[in-house]
């Protein structure tokens, strides 16, 4: 296969009736998909819908239980990883699988060299090959810099170049934009256009609706291991994609409780500044209020929350809790001031996975559960744990079960319980429903409303517009480290949030 067929005559690769079971769970049930050269095909679906499994089957990592894979008219009942690579299927995973200690040029060429069974490494032969690819794509990549030093976006471009050196005709990208800033996404998209012109068939795996529509020609939406719908991108809009993904009408109904207009602010942040992260950030949160903070990745939204929580303290500015200034130089300072934080990376920052639910719930409030001899008060600890275990309806056989056995939604409830056990005045939550299934999502938002109604001030950092619409009294929009907009009342809608975020 030398000539690449740029006319959309036949698909480069197609899969038919792929079925895959893990134990008793059916991950894929008769999935079919066609990839054409020069097209971006978006594979969308919620977490756990089976899209990752499908990619693994196409790239030969997993073998299907039934169905066939057709590459260049040849039918295979399964792929193996080497065959997939030699026939031109390349997957770019989120971690890019690069060697951080090697140069860009070496990373680009090395796998092809190894696959070509070159026994000796020839430094001189490598550079021109890498150079050719980089120039062809019109990239501004320093071939000699170490990959470990590159930005996420440049690592990704390195991975794309590596795929092309291997004569990729199908490039599958797993969540390619999650870690990129707005301008980096734009740059990626121009590269994608060039790849299309080369006749490469691209698959974008994503659950971000805007991207899906912006870049792809064809969209396939999966839910619970099945293809729900597939068609031209022009036939879909944001709402219809979301509807297919969740299987439910997008719920953007606002449920917010009225606030006491005279109440003194629980949390006041004024002129908070951290060079390189955010600048002159000021806002207040009233008792019972849920404040949304949104912005693109890299806008500074996470840094603001982490500064208030003391994880990366602000360089200047004031933080007041209940009108009293508090000095927050470390996390214990923030906890002492009554500030809690549900971090964005639940698995590594929020939870002790091997420990029990009970140990996790009590982890943040050990010092609050001491008896008069400074030992732990076992009775009170048990009652706190069983109270939160029940009131947050954590689904597990009992509180001694390890957190590792829980689903995303239940694990997030455990993190929430850990902070509710500290009885905080201010609770910051970063991406509280990321990786949580739809049902759990609305329950978690309901838990937040309940916590707020007890007088807590809640700050939700999220890029999930419907979620912000659903529970927030006000929404701050952050861009390039500054608060650029505040949406209130009826001005809060998914459309307005998206508009301001991208502006």
């Amino acid at each position: 296969m030398d000539a690449i067929q740029t006319d959309a005559a036949g698909p480069v690769l197609s899969v038919r009736g792929i079925t895959k079971r893990f134990g008793g769970v059916t991950a894929l049930a008769g999935v079919s998909l066609e990839l054409r050269s020069g097209e971006v095909h978006c594979l969308a679906g919620e977490n756990g819908c089976g899209k990752s499994t499908l990619i693994k089957i196409i790239s030969g990592v997993e073998r299907p239980d039934a169905g066939e894979i057709i590459m260049d008219g040849e039918t295979h009942s399964r792929m193996n990883a080497t065959a997939a690579i030699t026939s031109g299927v390349q997957v770019i995973y989120q971690d890019f699988s690069l060697f951080p200690n090697l140069s860009v040029a070496e990373n680009i060429v090395l796998t092809a060299e190894v696959a070509g069974r070159q026994r000796f490494y020839r430094a001189r032969a490598i550079r021109p090959k890498a150079q050719a690819i980089v120039e062809e794509l019109g990239l501004d990549l320093d071939l000699d810099s170490e990959v470990g030093e590159l930005s996420v976006a440049d690592k990704q471009l390195t991975a794309i170049c590596r795929a092309l050196v291997n004569d990729a005709r199908v490039i599958i990208m797993d969540e390619p934009t999650t870690a990129l800033t707005h301008s980096e996404v734009a740059r990626l998209f121009t590269v994608v256009e060039r790849l299309r012109a080369r006749g490469v068939a691209l698959v974008f795996v994503s659950h971000k609706l805007e991207e899906v529509l912006a870049i792809s020609q064809r969209v396939t939406i999966m839910r619970s291991g099945r293809v729900v719908t597939s068609g031209l991108a022009t036939d879909f809009d944001r709402r219809s994609i979301a509807q297919h993904m969740t299987g439910a009408e997008l719920d953007e109904t606002r449920v917010v409780s009225p606030l006491d207009p005279d109440a003194r602010a629980r949390l006041t942040v004024s002129h908070l500044d951290l060079p390189g992260a955010f600048h002159d950030v000021s806002f207040t949160v009233a008792p019972g209020e849920i404040l949304g903070v949104t912005g693109l990745l890299g806008s500074g939204r996470t840094e603001i929350a982490e500064a208030i929580f003391g994880a990366r303290p602000a360089a200047s500015g004031d933080i007041l809790v209940d009108g009293l200034p508090v000095s927050i130089r470390s996390i214990p300072d923030a906890v002492a001031a009554g500030i809690g934080y549900v971090p964005e990376d639940r698995l590594s920052q929020g939870l002790f996975l091997e420990k029990s639910i009970a140990d996790n719930i009590i982890a943040g409030s050990l010092d609050r559960h001491r008896n008069r001899w400074r030992g732990l008060d076992g009775m009170r600890i048990r009652s706190t744990i069983s109270r939160l275990f029940a009131s947050l309806s954590i689904k597990a056989p009992n509180a001694e079960a390890p957190v590792r056995s829980l689903s995303g939604g239940n694990a997030q409830r455990v993190v929430l319980a850990k902070w509710l056990a500290t009885d905080p005045k201010v609770l910051l939550l970063n991406g509280p429903t990321v990786g949580v299934d739809v049902g759990s999502k609305s329950q978690i938002l309901e838990l937040l409303r309940k916590a707020a109604s007890s007088g807590m001030a809640i700050v939700v950092i999220s890029d999930d517009a419907p979620e912000l619409v659903s529970c927030c009294h006000r929404v701050l929009v952050v861009a390039r480290g500054r608060v650029v907009d505040v949406l209130e009342g009826d001005a809060i809608s998914a459309e307005s949030i998206h508009e301001r975020m991208a502006a």
């Binding site: 977490n47 999650t178 590594s348 929020g350 002790f352 091997e354 309806s393 056995s405 689903s407 759990s440």
Partner: protein, 382 residues
Amino acid sequence: MSANESPPGAPAPGDGARFNDRVGTVTRDIIGRASANRKTGRMVVALLLAFSIFAIANPRVFLSPLNLQNIGVTAPEIGIIAIAMMLAMLTGGIDLSLVAIANLSAITVVALYSGIAANDPALAESLTLPIIVAGVLVGIGCGMLNGFLVSVVGITPILATLGTMQILNGIAIVTTGGSTLYGAPEGLTAFGRTALGPVPILFVLFIAIAVLMALFLSTTSLGRKIQLEGANPVAARYSGISSRSVLMSTYTLGGALAGIAGVLFLARNPTASADYGASYVLLVIVIAVLGGTNPNGGFASVAGVVLATLTLQIVSSGFTALRLSSYEYAIAQGVILIAVMVLDYVAANRRQRRPAIEAPPDARAASPEPTPATAQRDTEHS
């Protein structure tokens, strides 16, 4: 269990129900502990096995009161250092300097005592307790140095304590000139010879310290924080736990225990030297791991460590009873360690192959996408 399963807002349970809850909680606690202490149970079996093998092989020597008492007298010093090692490993670290600390504390006590006794034996006698306290304080000081290097400077524990081990060993050799010091406090050696009925007082002391440490880990805030710090340092930080103070306290406590072990060296044998117990460094690591300590941190059991100490001491004295050499004992140590690790591995595999029994109804435990999006998602701050 019923308490946890009652939905929120269910009618308040009556007294009877509350009693049932209490009983339920207690039962669950016991079951939970039993399964958590599977490794401890394993050590009980190993202990009984070792004991019966040697009791049958050479009952005349092995079961003699002298031999049994000898086990009771030698186990405490090793056991206490092993508990200190367990503490360091519980935070995900290690403390190679413990034996060196113990020696330095023993040398301090002997040097102080014999120095004073040379001029005024009566004064030295009356100062026995302060001198012992000084020895333990030396241990605490060394532990604080370790804690400082690990928590404030941020040196990897294995390197920091390797450094202090060399420094402390060096100091010990330089101050003693490499020779053995004689002249432990009379009172201390006399204490070391006493017994509570058939049980040597040193063994009683060991058990008391072990019980205190077990209580410390389970019923104090610091003890729980030590375990959490080891289980996931990042989550500990994000839970408001100051790793600096936790590590500082852990290594200081380890130093204190090593100091006490140094005093016990003297209670058993009234001489101190820089190279005493050189083989203990690796032995206590073996004991700690055998006792169920997870070298990655977060999980350990004092009871397990006590049982592992006794098992290895029984094997050691059993080998002596069978007239086997210390080299063969070293082989046995290695074989026991690897055998137990293999058993663990087999057991863990078998447990994994069993379907997840605790999967909650909505858990997507067997989901084809094992990593929730949170794991890879926002790498925003990198």
